[in-house]
């Protein structure tokens, strides 16, 4: 992977400009961002993914307005059990007589939250490990990378299942199980990038000027690995959403929270698959697939903007 050149290498140009270095840096960042967006826009898949995500995010935010708080209540449910779609319930009802469409909307929030938090946790661990391992070489790097490798060879799902079994059933368990098992890929990628960045002459210069470890990692390395981290995050989110659904399917999710995976599990427990209640089993699966696809498309588009050699369709 080639190193991204948008923000680095310009440290020495500051003196010639009349404006302050800070303003200059901001302008440069804006410029880079604009260029990034121009390139991103040329990826149809990425644009489609982004559009889907915007719509879904709006739906998630508006869930209380669209569906109402009481739509999750079992005692206030107005429909009969497993009613077919009708004018009143566009996607039918679940076994408690609740509106499946409303539940799907509420589920959006939880599934997105789990996806985002788990991905954030995973990428944060990965970036931290990757940057420090790339920066501090020697025994620290050796030990840390050995641990990383070890996590990398662990069958992710098996480990996530084991962790969810060991801990109490809750959303946080799911988030933790996903976060803790998916970080090594990010760590490896970030470390490689860190090594590449740190071999640049200007890092040498910064070090000579008295920049400490913290300074170098935070001010020079981090901005350079950020795009990679961003791409990685979007990809991990789609993985996290799928894993959440998988854990819920295996009965390891939090049964008291409405999520897409939880809806699928509820539908299965109600026997909806073999009872022909397609309106209950199909929408959550489609929603999961759609969002996972959208995040993957975004991630790939970002990736190919950063590394045009990959030649994602443009």
């Amino acid at each position: 992977m080639t190193v991204h050149e948008t923000t680095d290498g310009a440290a020495g140009q500051g003196g010639a400009a009349p404006r302050s270095a800070r303003a200059l840096a901001r302008a440069r960042r804006l410029h880079a961002l604009a260029r990034f967006w121009r390139q991103y826009r040329s990826h149809r898949g990425g644009v489609f993914g982004l559009a889907v995500l915007v719509v879904i995010a709006l739906l998630a935010l508006a869930a209380p307005l669209l569906a109402g708080e009481e739509s999750r209540s079992v005692t206030d449910a107005t429909g009969g059990a497993l009613e077919e779609p009708s004018g009143e319930f566009l996607l039918g009802t679940d076994q408690f007589g609740r509106d499946v469409l409303a539940l799907l909307l509420w589920g959006t929030r939880v599934s997105l939250m789990v996806g985002l938090l788990a991905a954030f946790l995973s990428v944060a661990i990965g970036a931290l490990v990757g940057i420090t391992a790339g920066h501090f070489k020697g025994w620290y790097a050796t030990v840390v990378m050995r641990i990383t490798d070890w996590f990398l060879v662990m069958p992710t799902l098996v480990l996530a299942i084991a962790l969810s079994t060991v801990m109490a059933r809750s959303l946080w368990t799911t988030i933790l199980a996903i976060g803790v098992t998916t970080w090594p890929t990010t760590a490896r990628l970030v470390r490689a990038q860190t090594l590449a960045v740190e071999s640049r002459p200007y890092i040498e210069r910064a070090r000579a000027l008295g920049g400490g470890h913290g300074h170098i990692m935070a001010r020079h390395v981090l901005p350079n690995v950020m795009p990679l981290v961003l791409a990685q995050t979007t990809l991990v989110i789609s993985l996290a959403i799928l894993t959440e659904a998988t854990l819920a399917f295996l009965g390891l999710g939090d049964p008291t929270v409405v999520s897409w995976g939880g809806l699928l599990q509820d539908a299965r427990e109600a026997g909806a698959v073999s009872s022909g209640n397609w309106w209950y089993i199909t929408p959550p699966g489609l929603a999961i697939a759609l969002v996972a696809l959208a995040f993957t498309l975004c991630g790939r588009a970002i990736e190919s903007v950063l590394n045009p050699k990959l030649g994602v369709s443009r």
Partner: protein, 625 residues
């Protein structure tokens, strides 16, 4: 999250629905594509016969794994059910009324002191290898269980009180006891052939799954077994009670209940029970299907809420962290007055259950008890609120009930993660008790036994399968069942220790007159109900289904309105009559398989080729442009 303005915005459901409708329009369009795919239509029924020689095969869908095929080790329901078919027991239970009927033993009598039991063994029974069945086989089986710890693994509780077992003649079995034992005509122990089993070295490792057919004397003989694939039994044509009507009985594995129901719809299996039961949705949709009969029998389980009364040992040492407020009878009464059992039966079980009150399910009519009108905790949220006010738990500004110590009333409830009913009822409890101002955390675990034994819970979902003799389910609520040491596993259900209950328990143990004993058992249930530590919500029905184009008739137990799978006897499979074979005998196995594989492979290839061809076409078209 509870923002009032949002409630305001949704007061007009019509506008809300309008918005939802708009929103979903596109979704529905996409869904209608898959709708067609997911709606099951009438499948072509397969025949009950297998291809080879028109054999009548009865196929049962099961999910539970066989733990062992050795009767000394097997504990799961599927294994013990299979053992009932393979081996005769000394006695059996009548399908009509659960009374004891002869099986391997034709007669039995006890000495006056109830310490010596003499069984007469039938002389017309043979092992499937031709050897005669004798009392020596039974004596050897019991002696092995008494002498070898490993052989006592599964059924050791029956023989732990045996002093001596002998076979003075081929038709006489004598059992001497240390003290009287109530289960002597209900010894659910498979008797194995001595001449085969005496060659076994280590009973802890011998799983009886190497040499087929397995020598037995039951109505069926085990002929084939593949772990988690199938268990195959063939009819024992020489069975003394009469040969089964089906030639072959196959237990086929479907780990996913939906797959099992799909297999039933399709005719791949003749019978599906689900584990523990078919869901209401499945029952309702199967009831509408052709050639399928849904059998709903009164269940033998109760579904209850147990309260932790403060865990303690036999010596009174307290442990665990049960909520102290629950030791207040008024709080307990308030909680359960706010539970609408009717809604639970209607909504969660969708009518496939009976509303619960007393401890023992109505299936056992002799012992069934109902609370009197003044005793009964009928659903009354207003009264519940009053009771809580009386008990000193007033609502604070946020609408939460707070005790005199300023602590809010927040309870935890232990739920079985694998039981959908627990989770569903948990949702209702959260809302009902939430209305009252009581918080509830539903703790769903795969395995609840540890926090349970440690007394680390406030409430718990509880349920026991009740035997025809209620002694066991009553005994688990006596002081004697409490653990010796804190957190040690013991017989107690939820640490109830009540003097009055114990007194009645002692009386019923000593009572030999059935009517008087039943009356005592009812008094015990009344007492248990009043203490408010056990609150039975429902008696779930056993819901099963079978194909009428494969099974013409089958005996349920109890015969009048009972269940088929997991009976206390082999009546269902032994009695099942195959449907008339008016159709040809080409079944799902054998000959047609080749054709089907052909179709399948062709279909896959065609789809693949189609996709690729399409791609290529499009690609070349693009190239041409």
């Amino acid at each position: 999250m509870d923002r009032p303005e949002q409630h305001g915005s949704s007061t007009n459901p019509r506008t809300r629905r309008g918005r939802l409708r708009l929103l979903a329009a596109s979704g529905v369009a996409a869904m209608s594509l898959t709708a067609g795919l997911a709606t099951p239509l009438n499948p072509a029924p397969h025949e009950a016969e297998a291809a080879d020689g028109g054999k009548k095969t009865l196929t049962v869908a099961v999910a539970q794994s066989v733990d062992s095929l050795s009767p000394f080790l097997a504990q799961t329901l599927v294994s013990t059910s299979i053992h009932r078919l393979m081996y005769d027991f000394l006695t059996n239970y009548d399908a009509k009324d659960n009374s004891t009927v002869p099986a391997m033993a034709t007669e039995w009598e006890s000495s006056d002191d109830k310490l010596t039991w003499t069984y007469t063994i039938r002389s017309d029974a043979k092992w499937s290898d031709g050897e005669k069945v004798t009392a020596e086989d039974a004596a050897w089986t019991f002696n092995t269980m008494m002498e070898d710890e490993a052989a006592a693994t599964a059924n050791g509780s029956f023989t732990s009180n045996f002093k001596k077992v002998t076979a003075p003649g081929p038709d006489k079995l004598v059992v001497e006891l240390k003290k009287p034992q109530a289960t002597m005509t209900a010894l659910d122990v498979p008797i194995v052939p001595k001449h085969v089993w005496e060659k076994v070295d280590d009973f802890s490792k011998f799983n009886n799954d190497q040499d087929f057919p397995v020598v037995g004397n039951g109505p069926f003989v085990l002929t084939e077994y593949k772990r988690d694939s199938y268990v195959k039994l063939t009819a024992n044509k020489d069975y003394w009670r009469g040969a089964p009507k089906f030639d072959e009985l196959v237990f086929r594995y479907y780990k996913d209940q939906d797959a099992a129901v799909a297999a039933l719809r399709k005719g791949e299996v003749s019978f599906a029970a689900g584990s523990p039961s078919l869901t209401p949705a499945q029952a309702n949709s199967l009831a509408k299907a052709d050639n399928i009969k849904v059998n709903e029998g009164p269940g033998r389980r109760f579904f209850a809420l147990a309260v932790n009364p403060g865990a303690r040992t036999k010596d009174g040492e307290e442990f665990g962290d049960g909520h102290p407020a629950l030791q207040d009878a008024k709080v307990r009464e308030a909680l359960f007055t706010a539970v609408d059992r009717e809604t639970i039966v209607d909504r969660v079980f969708q009518g496939n259950a009976v509303e619960g009150e007393g401890y023992i399910p109505p299936r056992f009519g002799d012992y069934f008890w109902k609370p009197s009108a003044e005793q009964k905790r009928a659903y009354d949220p207003a009264k519940a609120a009053e009771l809580l006010d009386d008990a000193g738990y007033e609502k604070n500004a946020e609408g939460k009930r707070v005790g005199k110590d300023g602590k809010p009333l927040d309870f935890r409830i232990l739920c079985h993660a694998t039981d959908p009913n627990d989770k569903a009822v948990g949702k209702y409890l959260q809302e009902w008790w939430g209305e009252l101002g009581i918080g509830l955390k539903v703790d769903c675990l795969d395995n609840v036994s540890d926090p349970w034994a440690a007394g680390e819970y406030d409430l718990a979902f509880d349920g026991w399968s009740v035997n025809p003799d209620p002694d066991f389910v009553l005994g688990i609520h006596t002081c004697a069942a409490l653990p010796n040491k804190p957190k040690e596993s013991s017989a107690t259900d939820n640490f109830i220790c009540d003097k009055e209950f114990d007194k009645l328990y002692g009386q019923q143990l000593a009572e030999y007159d059935p009517a008087k004993r039943a009356d005592l058992v009812k008094q015990m249930q009344s007492r248990l109900y009043d203490t408010g530590y056990m609150n039975v919500l429902a008696y779930p029905n056993a819901v099963e289904a079978y194909r009428t184009d494969q099974i013409k008739s089958i005996t349920t137990m109890p015969q009048a309105a009972g269940n088929i799978y997991g009976q206390d006897g082999y009546w269902s499979w032994w009695s099942a009559v195959p449907a008339d074979d008016d159709a040809g005998s080409e079944g799902s196995g054998g000959l047609s398989t080749g054709a089907m594989v052909g179709i399948g492979v062709a279909a896959v290839l065609a789809i693949g080729a189609g996709v690729l061809f399409g791609l290529r076409r499009r690609a070349t078209a693009e190239d041409r442009e």
